[in-house]
């Protein structure tokens, strides 16, 4: 399948990667500012993109036309991007794009969160795994991945049914989260990985009631949720 390239697609990508207002048409040669559309074919492409996917900035008549990506534009971009390219695009994305993904996840929570429709959760979990997972690039810390991991962990923790929880857990495995312990496992209580609802001290014997989660990335291990442990 060929890459979905078009003037509009290229414009949306540039708008995301620039993360700020960009000039609508190709600027003059001596201007430093980048533009979204080359002069040829610009009018047609602009008609398609504005105002649905690109929003014009307020301006006075003698100022250049500047645009920003809209939420619909970010959504359009997500859909037009091939799965194998999606993750790197997401990681280079603007706050708007990241917010969009969180909104989408919240909407899925709203839609599926109360009926325990496991296949639906698995479907959205697989999509999240595709959207969010990407290898670390040059050791750069992907703060965004941690934010996503936090969102997933919160969703998992508050899942209304075991089935939904398992569906979210699949998504968590898909984005590289690793569990701390297994329910029922005998452990020596370690405060840095375990938490309990009753007084326990490091070194006490216990067993895992509910697993925890960590994520490993370029900077090492990052704790998301400690495992819940009870005394033996």
């Amino acid at each position: 399948m060929p890459a979905p390239r078009s003037l509009v697609y290229d414009a949306l990508v540039r708008a995301v990667q620039h993360d700020g207002p960009v000039r609508l048409i190709k600027p003059s040669a001596n201007s430093r500012a980048g533009g979204l559309f080359p002069a040829a074919g610009a009018q047609e492409a602009i008609r398609e993109a504005v105002p649905r996917w690109l929003q014009e900035e307020p301006r006075t008549s003698n100022q250049p036309r500047l645009v920003r990506l809209t939420a619909d534009g970010a959504e359009e971009l997500l859909e037009r991007t091939l799965p194998e390219n999606r993750a790197s695009l997401v990681l280079s994305a603007s706050p708007l794009y990241q917010k969009l993904l969180f909104v989408r996840w919240a909407a899925l929570m709203q839609r599926f969160g109360w009926n325990g429709d496991r296949p639906a959760w698995e479907q959205c979990g697989a999509r999240l795994a595709a959207d969010f997972s990407a290898p670390e690039q040059n050791g750069v810390v992907a703060d965004f991945r941690r934010s996503v991991a936090h969102e997933l962990t919160i969703s998992w923790k508050h899942a209304p049914t075991p089935e939904v929880r398992e569906g979210i857990a699949r998504a968590m495995h898909g984005v590289g989260l690793r569990p701390i312990g297994v329910a029922g496992e005998q452990v020596t209580f370690a405060g840095r990985y375990h938490v309990s609802t009753v007084p326990m001290f490091p070194g006490d014997p216990g067993f895992v009631v509910e697993q925890g989660w960590v994520i490993h990335d370029g900077s090492g291990e990052y704790l998301l949720e400690k495992a819940l442990v009870a005394p033996v």
Binding site: R146, H150, I154, R192, V198, P199, F201, G220, Y222, K226
Partner: protein
Amino acid sequence: MLPALCIDLGSAYTKIAFRDTPSSQAKLLGLEELNLDEQHVCVPSVAAWRERDDRWVFGMDAADLVEGNGIRVFRNWKPDLFPAGESGTNPWDLLDEDPQEGLRDAPGSYARARNVARRYLTWLREDLVTRMLPGVDLGDVVLRLCIPEFAMFSPHAADIDRILEAAGWFNSVSFCCSEPMANLTGALTQGHNAVIEPQPGKLFANVPAMFERSHILEMVAAYQEDDDADAAEYATLIIDVGAYTTDFGLISIDLSGHGFFPLSETSSVRLGVHELDRRVAAALPSHLGAAVGALSGREWERFHRVVYTEAREWGLPGGGIVGQTPEQRATIAGTLSKFAGEIATAMNAFLDEHRPPCIQEVILTGGGNNIPEIARRLRQELASRGVATFYLPKADGNRSGARQVEIIAEVVRGASAVGGASVLFDLA
């Protein structure tokens, strides 16, 4: 000159920075096991004691322990080290006559905080920092400990010196330094150090070289070249909204041709994000407020991000949603707004006291400035002062007015520790 280590003993987290030589960069020290933040530098300022076998654990091992069955967990004890209106301790009281002095007291006890501080600082020296700096003899390291500005010249600062000595951090040139001053230095130098040695053995801080990575020097130069400039001073204001205090710092540079001599004013007020949390919990319906009040430290951090920063709903463990109704969202927004207004009022009082003729740059740091409403309110209050640049954790979408520059993550989180290890404090 000896290497320098600075401990920024935060109410929630401790950060530690180290500078090896006079001209090397001060950097935050990290360990893989400190897995609460992306830089692995945040040490929970928590200690726990089990009376039965007199065992102590600290930091990550103690952070989420539950009290009871003879287990005592000491959190947020730092403010108790600097009680208002009390004199310092008789030095004889620190001679280990009762190693458990104050440990059974309720929170708020000065004796309790002092005892915990000594044990925590001992653990830092004998365990954590030793592993952070393998091969470094800590006896040959100068220690600085950041303390609030209001405590700098109080009897409690002298007590801190005694506690450090009792904890083994003995070095005759170690001392406490002012949190806002250290923060300001860290934010503007980003940990860079430089010295000049005009005569053998005579070292001076190369201040312009240290500050060249901030915009401050180019802004000073541009200001000096501006024929219309009508103010003799160039000033940067730093506002650090922390967990328990908000620190203000003002660095002023004389532009009248007498060289680069920074003059600083600093102040701390007892108003921080924990107070905001308390008010929000109190404003919520009682069942939600009780559940919010019981959140762990890590859950609070998420709560801050979701509820304060992103203004979204927050599902509580065991049911209940914060911010589910418009009324609740309005209540939270109103509480946030009132709190931000109080921070702004404190800032205005600080500015009224020191009356800078102008403020060209403002640095907004500390966890509180991650909350958009606080940063927005402070910028709004400063709008009439002609500020050219705001340095802040996260720029917002408002493109009008002053330029916004996002601060590098390491400086946002550890500016005080990095600044406290600066060579400026040795050679000032």
